[in-house]
Amino acid sequence: MLQPRSDAAWLLALLACAAILTSALAHDQQQQQQQQQQQLQPHTSNWAVLVATSKYWYNYRHIANALSFYRTVKRLGIPDSNIILMLAEDVACNPRNAYPGQVFNDESHRLNVYGSNVEVDYRGSEVTVENFIRVLTGRHDPAMPRPKRMLSDKGSNVLIYISGHGGNEFMKFQDVEELMAQDVADAIQQMHEKGRYRELLLVAETCQAATLYSKITSPNVLAMASSLKGESSYSYLTDMDVGLSLIDRFTWSTLDFFERVDIHSRLSLAQLMQIYRYEVLDSHFHYDASHYPRPLDTVPVTDFFGSVSSIQPTPALNSTAGDSDSWSYSSYSSSEAAQELDVRRPAAVSSAGHASSSSSSSSQDGYSDCSCSVGSSAVAVGPVQDLPGSIVDTGVYLGMAAVASMVLVASVVAARIMAPLLS
C-alpha cells in the first residue's frame, strides 16, 4: 500500500526545491558602497510626506497623528505645496464620527486638526504602497498633477512620517498590503541616487517601528521610531465621546515637545529625542543616526519640521528696459552690501498643535489596542497584492490557470483510459 507520510514529505521537499529554482535569483543585497561624505548642499527647501496607512474608523488615531504632524509642520512654515498628506481613511466624514467634518487629537476637543485649510493629497484607496513609493522616487504617471508630486532636489530636507499598524520589517497599508523595510531602503537609495534629498528624517510610529528602517544604508538619513523590535506601540487616552483613542503616545509626546517650538526656535533634534520616556510610551524610543553625519545637538528641529528661506538682495538694476529713472521710488534705492541673511520662514498664526493640559503622568490610564502581528511569520506567506502594471501577477494567474486546466484535462483523459483497465 501507499505510505502517504513519507511520500508527502518527499513531495514537499521536491516542490520547495522547484519553487526556489524557478523563482529568479535572490534579490541582490544593496551594494553598500557608502558614497564618500560629500560636502552638503546648501539647504534650500523643505518637504514633508505624512502618511496614515490605516483604513477603518477604529484607526482614527492614526489619521489624527498624521493630521497633527501636518498642522505642526505647516505652523512651522512648510507650505501646503511642499506637504504630501496621505490619509487612508476619511474619518472626518465617517458616519460614525459624532463630530462631522472634524478630527480631534485630544479629549478636550479644543483643536480641530481637520481645519478649513487641510489639503489631503492622497486619500482613501489612493494610499497604497505603490503610490507611497512613487511619491518618494518621483516615478509618476505623466497625468499626475503637480501638487501630488514631491519635487524635492539636492537642497531639500525631507521629513517622512508614517503612522499605522506594522510589524517586524513591514508596515501594513489599508489592511491588505505591506510596505517592507527593504522597499523603504530601496526607495530612499533611489532618492539618493537621483538627488531627491539633502537630508532625510524618517519617523515611524508603529509597532516594532525600529525594524522599518533597519535596511537603510543611504547617506544623510536619520530615522526615529516609537518602538523596538518585539514591542508594541500604544495609543493614548480613550475619548468617550468619539469612543476611540484619539492619538498615539509617541505622537502625543512629540507634539507636546513642538508646543514649545516656534519658527525662531533653536531646539535641537537631540533635545527632541530626550523627551521620549518609557513610562509614557510603554515602548522604547529608538533612533538610527549611523548614516547621518551631523551631531544631533547641532541640528535644529526646524531643519526638518520647519522651513528655511534665505533672503538675498536684488543686484543693482540695469537701466536698460526703458528709462526706469522716472520710477518714483528709485530715489529710495541705495547701494547695499551684498549680505546674506539666513533666517526662518514665516510662522503660521495658527494655534499650536494640541493640548498640553493633560499631564503626561496620567498616561497610565491609556490602554493598548494595538493589533500588531508579532514575529516575522506574517511576512512570508501571502501574495503581494496590488501590483498593477506588472506582468507578474497576470503571469502567475495565467500560469495557474494553464496548469490547472492541463491537469484537469490530463486527469479526465487518465480517468477515461484507466477506467476500463481498472475495472
Binding site: 501507499l2 537642497g155 496548469v403
Partner: protein
C-alpha cells in the same frame, strides 16, 4: 490472467508517464513563458563606458581669447610688444593665475592701420592653460589685411559713449566673423586718456584703453596691464563664471532635468478694500478711494510680449521658458510693516523679511485659474499645441511629460492703500535696492507702491496709454473696473525681474569682483539690453550646463543600469530601451561637439541626453515596488503547485508501485511456470 509475452502493467505505467510528461514538458514551459518578464536589452557595457568616460574627461567647452592690440598708424612697435613675445607674456600670466579650468586658446593680433599680424599657437590643443609655458608652444605668424580699428570711437567713460563703442566693436567683430560662442576678443585700444579699467561689453568682447605716446615708450607697463586684463576677463566672464560653477555644483540652477523653467508671475494686491492712504495729497483721490475700492490688474499678454518674450528668447539655449501669470487679491503679507517717520513710509526690517512671504498665498504653480502657458522658445511651431514647453523630438516630449519643470515665482506685491508706501529695509536700516529681494531657486519678490500714482492718474484719463489695455478705452473708469498697471511699472518690473533672474542663474554682474581693489586693472561690465542676458553670460551658462548635463546623463544611465542588473524582477517597456539608446547617442554627439567647441550643438545634445536618461530612469512603468522577496514567490506559487502536483505525483508513484508489484508477480509466475 492470460499469459502473454509482454510483462503486465506496462500500459498503465505508460499512460501515467505520458500525463506527467505532458505536464512537465508542456505545462512548465507555458508557465515559464507567461511569467517571465519582458525587458529590452540594455547596453550595459556602453553605459559603463560612458559613465567612466564622464568621470575621467573634462566636459568643459573650450574658450578662445584673441587679444587685438590696436596701434595707431605711424608708430613704431617696440620689441616687447612684438606679437610672439606678447603671447608668451600673456600665456605665462594666464598659466600663473589659472582663471579657468578647461581648454583655452590664446592668440595675439597686432592691428596697425589695416594690416594685421596674428600669432597663434601652431597646435591649438597643445597650448591649454594648464600645459602652456612660453617655450613649449611653437607659434606661427600670419599677415593679413583687416579693418582699421584705430578709428574706434573711444571717447570718455560715460555710459552712453561706452555703449556706442560697444556697438561699434561688435560690428567690427562681426565683420571679421569672430564672436561665435566661445570666441572672445580683448581689444587694446589707443586713447588719449588711459584708464586702468577693462570694460566687458554686451557681446563677446572686452576692451582696454592705453595712451599710445606713453605706452609705446614703456611697453612693459602696457604688457602687464594687458596680461592682467586678460586674466581678469577670463576669470570673471569669458571663462567659467564662478557663481554658475557654484550653483551647478549644487545642481541648483533653476532648470529642470528636462531643461525647462517655468516663470510664474503673480500680482498680489494686499487689500483692495483698504481706505486710501493718508499721505496722499490729492483729496479727491482719497474720497474716490474711500468710495470706490481700488484693485489693480495687469495686461499680462502685452507685458509678456513686450518685456518677457525677449528674456525668454535669450535664455532659450539654456532652458525652455514657459510663462504663466495670476492675480491674487486679499493677500496681506505676514509682516505688515510699521510706520517709520524717518522714511515717511511703512517699513519692513531686514530681520522680518524672511517672514514676508506667507505660505498661505496660493502662488504655487498649477493652481492658478487662468494660466498663460505658452512656449516662448524659438521654435514657435510647437507652441500652438497649447501644452507648455514641449520640445520637438519625441524623447524630449516624453521627458517633459515625466519631469516637472522648475518653477520660479516672481511676486509683485502691491501693499494696501493704508499701508502704502511700503519699503523693504536692508542691513543697517537702509532701503533695499529696488524694494525687492530674491530667494535662491525659488524666485523673487518686488514691492510695488502704486496707491497714490494710479489713484491720481485715474482722475486724469488722458494720461492713459491706450496700448495697455482694452478696459481703458472709455472716458472714465467705472468704480468696479480694475486699474491696470502702466508702462513705467512694467519697465520697472522687467528691470527687477532681469536682475533677479541673473542672480538666480548665478550670472549677476558685480558679485564675483569683490576683491577688485588690489587688482592692477578694474573691471566694468556693460549691462545687457532688453534681452536681459549678455552673450557671454549665455555662453558661460551654456558651457556649465553642457558639461554638467553630459556628466549627469551618464551618471543617471549608470544608475539605471545598476538598478536593472540588481533587480531581476524589474519589468520595463521597450520605450526605456529606446530612451537609453537615444541618451547614449546624444552623449556621444555631445562629446564630439564639446571637443569641437560648438557651444549650441553641445548644449542641445547634452540637454537631450540628460532629458532622455532621466525620463528612462523615472519612467512610471518601472515598477514602484521594486522589492519582491523570494518568500513572496514561495507564497505565490505554493498554493498553486502543491495541490496540483500532489495527486499527480501520488498517482505516478501508485502506478509505479503497482507496476513493480505486477512485474514481480509476473516474473515469479514465469519462474514458477518455467
Amino acid at each position: 490472467m492470460a499469459n502473454s509475452s509482454r510483462p503486465p502493467g506496462t500500459k498503465r505505467l505508460w499512460v501515467i508517464s505520458s500525463i506527467v510528461a505532458y505536464v512537465v514538458f508542456a505545462g512548465i514551459p507555458i508557465w515559464w513563458a507567461t511569467t517571465s518578464l519582458h525587458r529590452p536589452p540594455l547596453p550595459h557595457e556602453a553605459i559603463a563606458a560612458a559613465e567612466a568616460d564622464a568621470g575621467n574627461r573634462s566636459a568643459l567647452l573650450p574658450v578662445a581669447l584673441q587679444l587685438v592690440l590696436v596701434v595707431p598708424a605711424g608708430s613704431e612697435l617696440p620689441d616687447e610688444l612684438q606679437p610672439d613675445r606678447m603671447l608668451a607674456a600673456v600665456q605665462a600670466a594666464v598659466a600663473a593665475a589659472q582663471p579657468l579650468q578647461g581648454p583655452l586658446q590664446l592668440s595675439i593680433t597686432i592691428n596697425t592701420a589695416g594690416s594685421c599680424s596674428q600669432v597663434l599657437p601652431r597646435h591649438p590643443g597643445v597650448c591649454s592653460s594648464s600645459s602652456s609655458s612660453s617655450g613649449v608652444c611653437t607659434q606661427q605668424v600670419q599677415q593679413q589685411a583687416c579693418p582699421d580699428l584705430s578709428a574706434a570711437p573711444v571717447a570718455g567713460g560715460s555710459r552712453q559713449q561706452q555703449q556706442q563703442l560697444d556697438a561699434w566693436l561688435q560690428q567690427q567683430q562681426q565683420l571679421q566673423s569672430l564672436g561665435t560662442p566661445g570666441q572672445y576678443t580683448l581689444f587694446v585700444l589707443p586713447d588719449t586718456s588711459s584708464s586702468s579699467t577693462v570694460v566687458v561689453g554686451r557681446s563677446r568682447h572686452a576692451w582696454l584703453t592705453y595712451q599710445p605716446s606713453g605706452a609705446l615708450q614703456q611697453p612693459q607697463q602696457l604688457l602687464q596691464a594687458t596680461a592682467a586684463a586678460a586674466v581678469r576677463v577670463l576669470s570673471c566672464c569669458f571663462g567659467l563664471h564662478s557663481n554658475v560653477a557654484a550653483l551647478a555644483a549644487a545642481d541648483s540652477l533653476p532648470v529642470s532635468a528636462a531643461g525647462h523653467t517655468q516663470l510664474s508671475f503673480s500680482l498680489l494686491h494686499a487689500d483692495p478694500l483698504a481706505p486710501g492712504s493718508s499721505s496722499s495729497s490729492n483729496k479727491d483721490s482719497i474720497e474716490a478711494a474711500a468710495q470706490h475700492p481700488l484693485h489693480y490688474t495687469w495686461d499680462f499678454d502685452v507685458f509678456e510680449q513686450q518685456h518677457l518674450a525677449p528674456i525668454a528668447a535669450s535664455l532659450a539655449p539654456v532652458s525652455h521658458i514657459s510663462i504663466e501669470s495670476q492675480l491674487l487679491y486679499f493677500t496681506p503679507a505676514r509682516t505688515p510693516g510699521s510706520w517709520s517717520s524717518k522714511h515717511s513710509a511703512f517699513v519692513v526690517k531686514q530681520s522680518q523679511l524672511p517672514f514676508f512671504v506667507d505660505s498661505d498665498w496660493a502662488v504655487e504653480s498649477g493652481r492658478a485659474v487662468m494660466q498663460h502657458n505658452r512656449t516662448s522658445s524659438s521654435s514657435s511651431s510647437s507652441s500652438s499645441s497649447g501644452t507648455a514647453g514641449m520640445l520637438s523630438s519625441s524623447a524630449n516630449t516624453a521627458a517633459a511629460a515625466v519631469l516637472e519643470s522648475h518653477v520660479l515665482h516672481f511676486l509683485v506685491y502691491v501693499p494696501a492703500a493704508d499701508k502704502s508706501p511700503l519699503l523693504l529695509l536692508g542691513p543697517k536700516g537702509k532701503v533695499r535696492n529696488s524694494n525687492s529681494f530674491w530667494i535662491p531657486s525659488w524666485g523673487g519678490v518686488l514691492v510695488l507702491n502704486l496707491a497714490n500714482e494710479i489713484a491720481a492718474a485715474s482722475t486724469d484719463t488722458g494720461e492713459f496709454d491706450h496700448d495697455e489695455g482694452d478696459s481703458e478705452g472709455g472716458q472714465s473708469r467705472l468704480p468696479w473696473q480694475p486699474l491696470p498697471l502702466q508702462q513705467q511699472h512694467y519697465q520697472h518690473i522687467t528691470a527687477v525681474v532681469i536682475a533677479q533672474l541673473q542672480a538666480l542663474f548665478g550670472v549677476a554682474p558685480g558679485t564675483s569682483s569683490s576683491s577688485s581693489s588690489t587688482e592692477v586693472v578694474q573691471l566694468q561690465q556693460l549691462p545687457a539690453g532688453a534681452a536681459g542676458f549678455s552673450k557671454w553670460q549665455m555662453d558661460a551658462l551654456l558651457r556649465q550646463r553642457a558639461g554638467a548635463d553630459v556628466q549627469e546623463a551618464a551618471r543617471v544611465l549608470g544608475s539605471l543600469s545598476r538598478l536593472v542588473q540588481q533587480l531581476p524582477n524589474l519589468e520595463m517597456p521597450d520605450l526605456i530601451g529606446q530612451q537609453v539608446e537615444q541618451a547614449l547617442s546624444d552623449i556621444h554627439s555631445a562629446w564630439q561637439h564639446i571637443a569641437a567647441g560648438d557651444y549650441h550643438a553641445a548644449g542641445a545634445a547634452a540637454a537631450a541626453a540628460r532629458a532622455a536618461a532621466e525620463a528612462a530612469f523615472l519612467h512610471p512603468s518601472v515598477l514602484a515596488q521594486l522589492n519582491f522577496p523570494d518568500s513572496h514567490k514561495l507564497g505565490v506559487y505554493m498554493p498553486l503547485f502543491l495541490p496540483v502536483s500532489v495527486p499527480l505525483l501520488q498517482g505516478f508513484v501508485l502506478q509505479l508501485r503497482h507496476y513493480v508489484k505486477r512485474r514481480r508477480e509476473y516474473t515469479a509466475a514465469l519462474r514458477a511456470g518455467g
